[in-house]
């Protein structure tokens, strides 16, 4: 079965007003459970909006998003959050880590909502820190990390709850070439972990990768054939 099914999705800002702006127009998309999809498009093409809708950050103006058959677009906040916590790992362009907390504390955030014991939390966090190769910096304040290290922290955080879907919004936009390549290696790891991954990017580094299952081009809110 398809993991993510998007049907006739529209996102319109300021509807019925002068400043009405259609970010997404009639999107139809299907992503399979173990698929790695790259969403290609320039800034402003609507890919970030599409990703936020998939993660239930906002609600669509029209259409449906089905994840594992369930329509998440109309879920009340409580259930949407629960879905997000359980099934989605999001990697942001600007990393979005909480300054002032250590790496360990940042990665542990998604786990805080569950009654795990301290031991369990430690195990899970250490596991993903090792996967992302930043175990040695666990106690450091996030503000002191380099761009690449912050990215790896964001990756660890996205993985800690073992979600089935990873979404990445312009993950390499704030990285240099070396770190971008490292990220692509991580992408392959995701694929091997049998996760469903969608990456929105306009970075040419992602072109022509062998392990990518699908390239989708998006422009002006519409998917190009």
């Amino acid at each position: 079965m398809d993991k993510i099914v998007i049907e006739n999705l529209y996102k319109i800002y300021n509807e019925d007003k002068e400043s009405e702006f259609t970010a997404l127009k009639d999107i139809n998309l299907k992503v399979a459970s173990n698929e790695l999809m790259i969403l290609r498009g320039v800034s402003g093409s609507g890919k970030s909006t599409l990703l936020s809708l998939m993660a239930a950050f906002s609600k669509p103006s029209r259409g449906k998003i089905l994840i594992d058959g369930e329509n998440i677009s109309k879920l009340p906040d409580f259930f949407a959050s629960e879905f997000r916590n359980r099934d989605i790992g999001f990697i942001f362009q600007s990393f979005n880590l909480i300054e002032g907390l250590s790496l360990f504390e940042n990665v542990k955030i998604p786990l805080v909502l569950h009654p795990y014991s301290t031991q369990e939390i430690e195990e899970k966090v250490h596991h993903v820190l090792n996967l992302a190769n930043i175990m040695h910096k666990a106690e450091q304040n996030v503000a002191d990390l380099s761009g690449g290290e912050k990215q790896r922290c964001a990756i660890a955080r996205a993985l800690v709850n073992n979600p089935s879907i990873i979404l990445a919004d312009e993950p390499t936009a704030n990285l240099d070439k070396a770190n971008s390549l490292k990220f692509i290696e991580v992408l392959e790891k995701f694929k091997n972990m049998k996760k469903c991954v969608v990456v929105a990017t306009h970075d040419t580094l992602f072109n022509d990768l062998s392990f990518v299952d699908n390239y989708v081009n998006i422009s002006d809110g519409e998917i190009l054939a």
Partner: protein
């Protein structure tokens, strides 16, 4: 200057220790009850768990600068109201203890609108009235200590002999400063009466500024004749008779004023309820202004918190979770301030004897007073409801506003 600094540092350290102790105690009980609640509550996910609370506190510690201002002002407000209540309760308790005896009527004589003494003859007549069990003549008045332009309250106590007197703490200190340590000379008209200081009593609200001597000496000091009394203590066993007896006395001697004990007691209660109530109202006014300040403060930090809240929401925190986080943080601040204020207030009232505040309550003549520590759980509960509850009520709507921010907007 240096000593004060050190003093303040030590005090702050002690305060922090106390706050931590209470915090950990509360935390233990909270976790224990959460464990029990979580076992039975099989939800999809249980958010109010130990990790969640710990995390909220961690965020609070990180953001402590934002809360320090509110913390101090709130502590101050609770401090004021608690001190007022401590003082008023202590005074009330002492006064009520003095009016314990049921069935007493105090009779004073008045002349030209002033109190004068009651005569032997009047006392005998009152004793004859039906329903009066006994009449005790009291000798009680004020002696003018000219050296310091001050008056001492002289009370007759017949258990003392001719040469002794018992004085209260504050009087002892006063006399000592004038080099009277073992005895004191009362200067009356053309002679001096020397009495030995037998015992020194602690100055409570009742025995403050008092000297006890036997009635003969008292009469001499107060220049009263043998057949005169300052006032009469009339014992009336049957409470219902008091009204009648007061009427009879008034008919016999229109110049005598009868004050039954329940009137006295009620008067005291009324007086202190009145004073306490005024403070409450003043307090409400200050509380309202505090909340206006609080609101402004919250809107100020609103901006910087938006991104953080959005990050939490993207990790799966629901609107309800964010409100819970803010609520836990603010509860902690409110509780810490509450306990800190009570602790400080206790020190202020019962160790330092409430300088400034006691003058407002007891008038300016009261320089030496010791408040007996009266700590009433009910009063502490009252303070809690009066302060912590409105504080938490005030942060509800701002917390909600913060929680409903659009996630994708805040992250751009």
């Amino acid at each position: 200057m240096k000593n004060e600094d050190i003093g303040i540092k030590i005090l702050t350290k002690m305060l922090m220790k106390l706050v931590y102790k209470i915090y950990f105690l509360l935390r233990k009980t909270l976790y224990a009850s959460l464990k029990i609640a979580n076992k039975q509550y099989k939800q999809l996910r249980s958010d109010l768990n130990k990790n969640f609370v710990d995390f909220s506190v961690r965020l609070l510690i990180k953001e402590k600068k934002d809360y320090i201002f509110s913390f101090f002002i709130f502590t101050f407000i609770v401090f004021i109201i608690t001190s007022v209540l401590f003082v008023s309760n202590s005074v009330k308790r002492d006064l009520l203890l003095s009016v314990q005896n049921d069935g007493e009527v105090i009779i004073k004589n008045s002349k030209s609108g002033r109190y004068t003494s009651v005569t032997d003859e009047e006392m005998d007549d009152v004793l004859q009235i039906n329903g009066v069990e006994d009449v005790i003549g009291m000798v009680d008045g004020y002696y003018n200590f000219t050296q310091d332009r001050r008056v001492f309250h002289i009370v007759a106590d017949n258990d003392l002999n001719d040469t002794s007197m018992i004085i209260s703490d504050d009087v002892a200190r006063e006399l000592k400063s004038f080099k009277y340590e073992k005895e004191f000379n009362f200067l009356v008209k053309d002679k001096a009466i020397t009495l030995n200081i037998d015992k020194i009593l602690e100055s409570t609200i009742l025995t403050n500024n008092t000297i006890f001597v036997n009635s003969d000496n008292a009469r001499e000091i107060l220049e009263m004749d043998e057949d005169e009394y300052s006032f009469l203590n009339v014992i009336v066993p049957n409470k219902d008779e008091i009204e009648n007896i007061a009427l009879k006395i008034a008919r016999l001697y229109p110049n005598l004023i009868a004050i039954p004990d329940y009137e006295l007691k009620s008067d005291y209660e009324h007086l202190y309820y009145y004073k306490g109530g005024i403070f409450m109202i003043l307090y409400i006014v200050s509380l309202v202004s505090f909340f206006i300040l609080l609101k402004n403060q919250i809107s100020a930090i609103y901006g910087s918190r938006r991104k953080e809240i959005a990050i939490l929401r993207s990790m799966g925190f629901s609107i309800r979770d964010i409100i819970l986080v803010k609520f836990i943080q603010n509860s902690l601040v409110a509780f810490a301030a509450y306990f800190a204020a009570i602790f400080l207030s206790y020190l202020y009232v019962f160790v330092l004897d409430a300088p400034l505040l006691r003058n407002i309550f007891l008038g300016s003549g009261v320089e030496d007073i010791v408040f007996t520590p009266v700590v009433d759980i009910k009063m502490l509960f009252l303070v809690f409801v009066f302060t912590v509850v409105p504080y938490l009520a005030a942060i509800l709507i701002p917390s909600w506003r913060l929680a409903i921010e659009d996630v994708s907007e805040a992250m751009k």
